[in-house]
């Protein structure tokens, strides 16, 4: 009963939070001055001072260093919580959630695919630094510095636990999202990570009705499921996971030796604790080996078929590109299939570029999507195969351990460990324990 009441409380909390945004829209049209008032010419505001960009990078490094210290050295959950709060306030509300490391991977892909686009150094730093930190200090960035992760973390009160099998399936989605985001950015077709960022409307206190509904739905999801974006969508999390997997330092549940008390087993709301492997399994070694062998033989086929399937979607995927959409619109208008022209088509027709040039440009873009489809399909096929392979081979694990790739280094599991921990004098002095 009490639990039900708590859920309703969460729901109210989120709805009220959403209302703020919903009504923060302009409901009135811009005033019209029809008499003596001379409407000033629209001017382009000056770009932000570079100072803030340098400050962003500086605070990013400081934040990640502190997060790494709190998660790996001092094991201070409170310290991580404080950084989360500060990150939401600074990177989220003050800096309006941009540039963020998650979105910056698109800039990186765009720079790779377009010689005309030069990756700004600071954007490059925002992209690279968390990866480097993850390589040495696991996912300390995700623990509290990323504003997207931090705001979700603050909403983790009493989330539901998803079935493990479902978590495994859903954990494939970030690879899909990563692949498509890179493909679209590479072909200069758009930044879908930014476009579908569920938290940007909160940070900017703005957004149209559909986006606010989308954000609201996501926030409700964040209360029901812990960090759904980080676990089942974040494309940057895939890269961080790879780096973290290579890292030699990770959060440990127990500071000394695991006593197999099982108290931490359900302490992770993100389902990132790996259990000790069972001594016996109801499958013979021969059957297991055979299954793994078949899978290994199938991997090249899976990669090829996935690549083929996605390369054949070139016409459909290429529609994400504005040039291709314009070419299609022009064709449909010329063939009389559509009657209404668009602003883009009218603008195109008033310019000097010919339809043939536009068609050629579109053809080149579609060709890029065809090749990109092969690469994306192969990548997804390989990822799928490796995930299946990971579920097919037995690994010897004796203790309860955080998954090196999926653990967000949030430190929630520490409280469950009964092994005595002696906080350092410095941490005690700072009151962070």
């Amino acid at each position: 009963m009490r639990r039900k009441g708590v859920k309703y409380l969460y729901l109210f909390l989120l709805i009220t939070l959403l209302m703020g945004n919903l009504f923060a829209q302009d409901r009135f049209p811009k005033p019209e001055f029809e008499t003596d008032y001379y409407q000033p010419q629209t001017t382009t505001p000056l770009p932000d001072s570079q100072l803030f960009n340098y400050l962003d990078v500086f605070l990013l490094v400081i934040g990640m260093s502190l997060a790494a210290y709190f998660s790996l050295k001092s094991r201070s959950r409170r310290g991580i919580f404080i950084i989360s709060l500060l990150s939401v306030l600074y990177f989220g509300f003050f800096r309006k959630g941009c540039v963020c490391s998650v979105g910056s991977l698109q800039n990186f892909a765009l720079a790779l695919g377009n010689s005309g686009y030069v990756l700004p150094v600071l954007v490059g730093a925002v992209f690279i630094l968390p990866l480097l930190f993850s390589l040495f200090f696991a996912r300390s960035f995700c623990s509290s510095v990323c504003p997207l992760g931090a705001i979700q973390d603050l909403l983790v009160l009493k989330p539901l636990k998803l079935p493990s099998a479902l978590s495994k399936v859903l954990s494939f989605l970030p690879y899909l999202y990563l692949g498509f985001a890179v493909l679209l950015a590479f072909t200069n077709s758009g930044f879908i990570i930014c476009r579908y960022d569920p938290f940007i409307n909160i940070f900017r206190l703005s957004g149209d009705f559909n986006k606010i509904i989308y954000t609201g739905a996501f926030l409700i999801l964040c209360v029901l499921i812990a960090r759904p974006y980080c676990r089942f969508l974040c494309p940057y999390g895939v890269l961080l996971g790879w780096m973290s997997g290579l890292s030699s330092r990770h959060v440990t549940i127990t500071p000394t030796e695991c006593i197999q008390c099982k108290l931490c087993e359900n302490s992770c709301p993100f389902d990132a604790i790996e259990k000790p492997s069972p001594d016996k399994v109801p499958e013979t070694r021969t059957a297991g080996t055979k299954r793994v062998g078949i899978l290994l033989l199938l991997i090249p086929l899976i990669i090829f078929v996935s690549g083929f399937a996605l390369s054949r979607l070139d016409n459909i995927l290429a529609r994400a590109n504005p040039t291709v959409r314009l070419a299609e619109q022009i064709r449909l208008e010329d063939e009389g299939v559509v009657k209404e022209t668009t602003l883009e088509s009218r603008t195109f027709r008033s310019q000097e570029k010919t339809g043939e040039q536009l068609a050629n440009e579109s053809q080149n873009i579609v060709a890029q999507f065809r090749i990109g489809g092969w690469i994306l399909g192969a990548f997804l096929g390989l990822t799928f195969s490796l995930k299946l392979f990971g579920l097919s081979v037995r690994r010897k694990r004796e203790d309860y351990e955080p998954n090196p790739q999926h653990c967000f280094s949030c430190g929630r599991c520490w409280e469950s460990c009964p092994v005595d921990r002696a906080p350092s004098a410095k941490v005690k002095k700072l009151g962070l324990k």
């Binding site: 459909i316 339809g355 579920l391």
Partner: protein, 560 residues
């Protein structure tokens, strides 16, 4: 010590609960207020209130009523205050809500942290469960992967089977159109600025002997409007006192592809419109954007056709108060059909969405004219420039916003404006020729002269020269920067047709149908002369090295 700590904890939990309740109540109240604000603002539209509109209409009837003007200003100010107060309320409400919800979150977090109990190892999975989870995960993952793969293959297959719906482009079917060289979309060509982008045009022809005449046809009904062209289609209109028609000709063969009558237009006055013989029943040149062609007549009937002749929409703009007859031509900018409807009273400038005929914006006009709008790129923006009996005015073609106005003209204004190299030119008989420089500080009158003035033909402007064709037979070239006359040439007949620039040659057709081809230079240099063999008052369309001219009776295509 432990008891003290426990008491402290319980106190903090109690306080947190209290704070949570207060924060929740506060957030709820703010939320309700925001909803109320939302509902209120949704139903009330102070900027378009009936009271304000009523007063504005009343002011139109009594324009000098100072008290009424003050009342409107007060009401308008109130509406604006309401708007900005509303903005402030929304912003403040949003911040208050965030603060409230933030405090609520912190309180809840505190409560949950302090009441958290350590988990018990009961119910943890054993080895069998772990194996079952692995098995289930494998199955689900395989199923999900198979689904994605099947879906992708299915979609890919469909995309290749149904090319019309899924294929994005067929380059061989793309219309290749060079806007500058393949279209003459309105009166005086692109933007209405008298510049042809043809590389050259014939230097001699004879309408009577057929020399260089590709075809010559007689339109079913007469009209003084000039031909407009989009690729292979030429459009003109014709009318008499009983019928108004629009004709589409094949530019290659001169055959009528379609003709449509404009009749039974809703809102048309039953009273006959008074027209001068020099105006006729179809003086207004049409406008086309390839997809549509629009026509207007002195009766106030405005009609829009698809390029295959199907009527899209038609409306009457009201009986014109015009003693010679309404003769302004149409112009299309992007998706807007722009109508200069200058009248003795209640003149207006209108923009219609060409797809639907819906009015997009309108502006009041304070004086009559018979000129037509031009739409030009003045380096940093597009400007719609109009002349009337008092002024030259520039508007933003997208919004109708007045950009600038200069009261520099007078008389019964027939000629339209011309633009070149940052300068706008206006001219009228019995008044003056003016040159306005568009500077960063706004428009400045650069020079003015009252010698050699046009009555009907619009001026032609280039970077260096201003060409004026007068109704009393003079063709004049002035220095565009200073207004100094460089040369003048008198011909037997005067000009109603506006001169057109083709490469370096000026094509000026007099009322006798003789076109004088003169080098556009600081000295007079006649390149050639050619005759239609009949009178002509229309402005030629010159593109793709051909000339399309309308004589008093016939329509001609001229080419080598």
């Amino acid at each position: 010590m432990n008891n003290l700590k426990q008491n402290m904890t319980e106190t903090i939990i109690r306080i947190s609960k209290g704070v949570a309740i207060v924060a929740a109540s506060f957030s709820l109240i703010v939320c309700i207020l925001l909803v109320a604000n939302f509902l209120q603002t949704k139903t009330i539209d102070p900027l378009n209130s009936r009271a304000l509109q009523g007063l504005t209409e009343k002011l139109q009837e009594t324009p000098g009523d100072q008290a009424l003007q003050n009342e409107i200003r007060a009401l308008d100010l109130l509406a604006r205050k309401a708007y900005f107060t509303n903005q402030w309320q929304l912003k403040t409400g949003a911040y208050l809500l965030i603060i409230g919800v933030g405090i609520l979150l912190i309180s809840l977090k505190t409560i949950f942290t302090l009441t958290k109990k350590l988990p018990l190892p009961e119910g943890c999975a054993d080895a069998d469960d772990s194996w079952k989870i692995i098995l289930q995960s494998r199955k689900w993952l395989t199923g999900f992967g198979s689904f994605l793969l099947t879906f992708s293959l299915l979609l890919a297959g469909l995309s290749y089977l149904n090319m019309n719906n899924f294929s994005f482009i067929k380059p061989q079917k793309m219309e290749k159109i060079d806007f500058k060289t393949e279209t003459w979309p309105g009166f005086r060509g692109i933007g209405g600025n008298s510049i042809s982008f043809a590389e050259s045009a014939p230097l001699s022809w004879n309408g009577e002997t057929g020399e260089n005449i590709l075809w010559k046809v007689k339109p079913p009904l007469p009209g003084y409007n000039s031909p407009v062209i989009w690729k292979d289609k030429l459009f003109i209109s014709g009318a008499d006192k009983n019928r108004q028609e629009v004709y589409c000709y094949d530019v290659e063969k001169g055959e009528i592809i379609w003709q449509s009558e404009v009749k039974d237009v809703p809102g048309r006055s039953q009273n006959k419109v008074r027209l001068h013989d020099d105006t006729g029943y179809a003086p207004n040149t049409l406008a086309t954007n390839g997809a549509y062609v629009a026509a207007i007549f002195p009766t106030g009937d405005l009609a829009c056709f698809k390029n295959d002749g199907g009527l899209v929409w038609a409306k009457n703009l009201g009986k014109p108060e015009n003693h010679y007859g309404h003769s302004s031509s149409l112009i299309i900018f992007e998706n807007l059909l722009i109508v200069q409807y200058d009248q003795k009273k209640k003149g207006k400038l209108l923009a219609f969405d060409i797809d639907s005929g819906n009015e997009v914006w309108r502006k009041k006009r304070n004086a009559i004219s018979w000129s037509s709008p031009i739409c030009v790129n003045t380096t940093n923006r597009m400007e719609l420039i109009l002349t009337n009996s008092t002024s030259i005015t520039s508007f933003d073609p997208r919004t109708g916003l007045e950009l600038w106005n200069m009261d520099v003209l007078a008389g019964e204004m027939g000629p339209s404006a011309a633009y070149a190299n940052g300068m706008v030119f206006g001219a009228n008989d019995y008044a003056s020729v003016v040159a306005i420089a568009l500077t960063s500080d706004g428009p400045k009158l650069k020079w003015e002269t009252d010698y050699n003035l046009p009555d009907t033909a619009s001026p032609l402007a280039t970077e260096k020269y201003l060409i004026i064709a007068c109704s009393y037979g003079y063709l004049v070239c002035k220095d565009a920067q200073t207004g100094k006359m460089l040369w003048e040439k008198e011909y037997d007949r005067g000009f109603y047709s506006s001169p057109i620039l083709v490469n370096d040659n000026i094509y000026a057709t007099d009322m006798q149908g003789v076109t004088h081809i003169v080098k556009c230079d600081s000295v007079y240099n006649l390149v050639g002369e050619a005759s239609l063999g009949e009178d002509s008052f229309c402005t030629p369309a010159i593109l793709k090295n051909r000339i399309y001219m309308r004589g008093d009776e016939y329509l001609y295509a001229i080419g080598n």
